[in-house]
């Protein structure tokens, strides 16, 4: 079963962290990715550029309205994601809890919808 782990951060507190703390977070994330690659659970992931570079796009009456900034105003913003393929939802939560951002901000674990299905 595949899960997307959404990584949330407060960009202001990230910016204000001492450099060694930022480096420790990056190193912890790197070590966890290496571990999950080793177990064959790592499917992929990406980091996102700062939310201030985001464009929110809405189409109304066929007209696209594009605004600067993220879609939702919130202190904590999605800054990246990873996708893992693991056996149980408990395991996905366990991985999320070990992601360094979970200690300072938060993670969201979302099951992916499978394209497969069985008739009822």
């Amino acid at each position: 079963m595949k899960y997307m782990l959404l990584i949330y951060q407060n960009p202001a507190t990230w910016r204000d962290l001492p450099e060694p703390d930022r480096q420790a977070i990056m190193a912890d994330a790197g070590a966890l990715i290496a571990e999950l690659t080793g177990t064959g659970e790592w499917v992929g992931g990406e980091a996102l550029a700062d939310p201030s570079t985001a464009k929110a796009v809405r189409v109304r009456d066929g007209v696209p309205a594009v605004t600067d900034g993220p879609f939702a105003e919130a202190k904590e913003q999605m800054v990246g994601y990873c996708i893992v393929d693991c056996e149980t939802p408990e395991r996905a939560v366990e991985i999320a809890a070990r992601w360094p951002d979970a200690r300072l901000w938060g993670m969201e674990v979302r099951p992916l919808l499978s394209p497969d299905g069985v008739e009822m």
């Binding site: 064959g40 394209p115 008739e119 009822m120």
Partner: protein, 412 residues
């Protein structure tokens, strides 16, 4: 070149068995056989089939393996090994190995790949590669993960088998039954993965259901008297028979009661029914035989209203005694509802409430919705259909549940 591909997959287990038997090193031997299969797929179409294809593959794989073992040895700067001193070159021993290869090789390899140290997904992946002869890229495509992820999973599985010190031999008599149950479970999972696959973005996915049937046939050839092996093969054939009717052109799921039964495959129904009938008379009774028997009762009904639900209920009663699980109870509830009415079905489902193994599963909510709809409680049914759609983690199943909810809400 589908014929060649089929031939190579057929030859993969005896070739791997021969190489492992001679040299050990299951993990490296498995890589060497994959390379030999790839070499054959490249060379045979141009140069023609060799006189003895099995011997050709054993020779090529053995050469790759011995080359690799030698280079590893020299890298470690050790003395010449016993390996180099072993009598006979790969080319001359291949003929002898070809003779000793027998049909039980597939079964022995299955025991090894379904080693109890491995998780079910790892057992499944390794079985597809080492016994099924699929490439890592094909297996990755089947499970919709990147090739690197699947390669890692397979190589880790092989390392675990090596670490466990498992040799190329059938399990001891005392473990035989438990180990065979694991093999059958892996084949069952493989079939279900394939059966659940829908068209759409994954249209190029390899046919895991066909592969599961092929491997289960091989086990059945080795153990023709095992009633559960026969039962599993029958279950697969009878389920696969419905495949052409289970989805519409746009990938929507069609429930059993609404399927066009003229699309069901009579050849598979006939074979599966004959197999399960034979197995049930030889026994001992087991869950695969019972599930196959249930599938056979469905298959013999030309129209849903002809279904012998009393017989299905009797079979589910037996199944619940032999192999109790919340999923069996869920399915038994359907039979109870068909025989004794929707309220009786709801009473069975009530026994599952609070069971953590199934409480948050969309199938329970979906079935509650169905029974409440039949019992004339449309509002409760609508709420349950909506809950079921929320809980579903399958896109086609969610679409189906949403459409049922929309129909009840009067805008479907």
């Amino acid at each position: 070149m589908n014929g060649l591909e089929d031939l190579l997959r057929e030859l993969a287990p005896p070739v791997l068995a021969a190489v492992v038997r001679r040299y050990g090193h299951f993990d490296l031997a498995e890589d060497a056989v994959q390379e030999a299969l790839i070499a054959a797929a490249e060379q045979w179409p141009d140069r023609g089939l060799p006189d003895r294809p099995t011997a050709w593959l054993i020779t090529v794989a053995s050469r790759r393996l011995t080359d690799q073992l030698r280079s590893e040895e020299s890298r470690r700067r050790r003395e010449e090994t016993a390996l180099a001193a072993e009598p006979g070159t790969p080319a001359t021993v291949a003929a002898a190995d070809e003779q000793t290869a027998d049909r039980d090789d597939t079964l022995t390899l299955l025991f090894l790949c379904c080693h109890q140290e491995l998780s079910p997904p790892s057992q499944l992946a390794l079985t597809l590669r080492a016994v099924g002869g699929l490439t890592t890229a094909e297996i990755a495509r089947a499970f919709l993960v990147p090739e690197a992820t699947m390669a890692q999973r397979i190589s880790r599985a092989k390392q675990r088998i090596a670490a466990a010190g498992a040799g190329f031999a059938p399990p001891p008599a005392g473990e035989w039954a438990d180990r065979l149950a694991v093999v059958l479970h892996v084949l069952y999972l493989m079939f279900n993965e394939g059966y659940a696959a829908t068209s759409g973005p994954g249209a190029s996915r390899p046919e895991l259901a066909a592969e599961a049937i092929r491997l289960t046939r091989a086990v059945h050839r080795s153990l023709p008297g095992d009633a559960e092996v026969t039962g599993l093969l029958a279950l697969m054939l009878l389920t696969e028979a419905r495949h052409p009717a289970r989805t519409t052109a746009d990938g929507s799921l069609v429930p059993l009661a609404e399927q066009d039964r003229s699309l069901w495959r009579p050849d598979l129904i006939e074979e599966g029914t004959a197999l399960v009938t034979g197995a049930l008379t030889t026994g001992p009774l087991g869950p695969y035989q019972l599930q196959a028997a249930i599938a056979a009762v469905h298959a013999e009904a030309k129209h849903p209203s002809d279904t012998d639900w009393r017989q299905i209920l009797a079979l589910y009663d037996l199944l619940e005694r032999v192999a109790p699980s919340p999923v069996v109870t869920l399915n038994r509830a359907v039979a109870v509802a068909m025989v004794n009415g929707p309220q009786a079905g709801l009473d069975v489902l009530a026994t599952l409430e609070g069971d953590d193994r199934i409480a948050r599963q969309h199938r329970l909510a979906g079935l509650l919705a169905h029974f409440r709809e039949l019992a004339g409680q449309p509002e409760a049914a609508l709420a349950d259909y909506r809950l079921a759609a929320q809980l579903a983690t399958s896109l086609p199943e969610r679409r189906y549940l949403e459409s049922r909810a929309a129909r009840l809400a009067g805008h479907g």
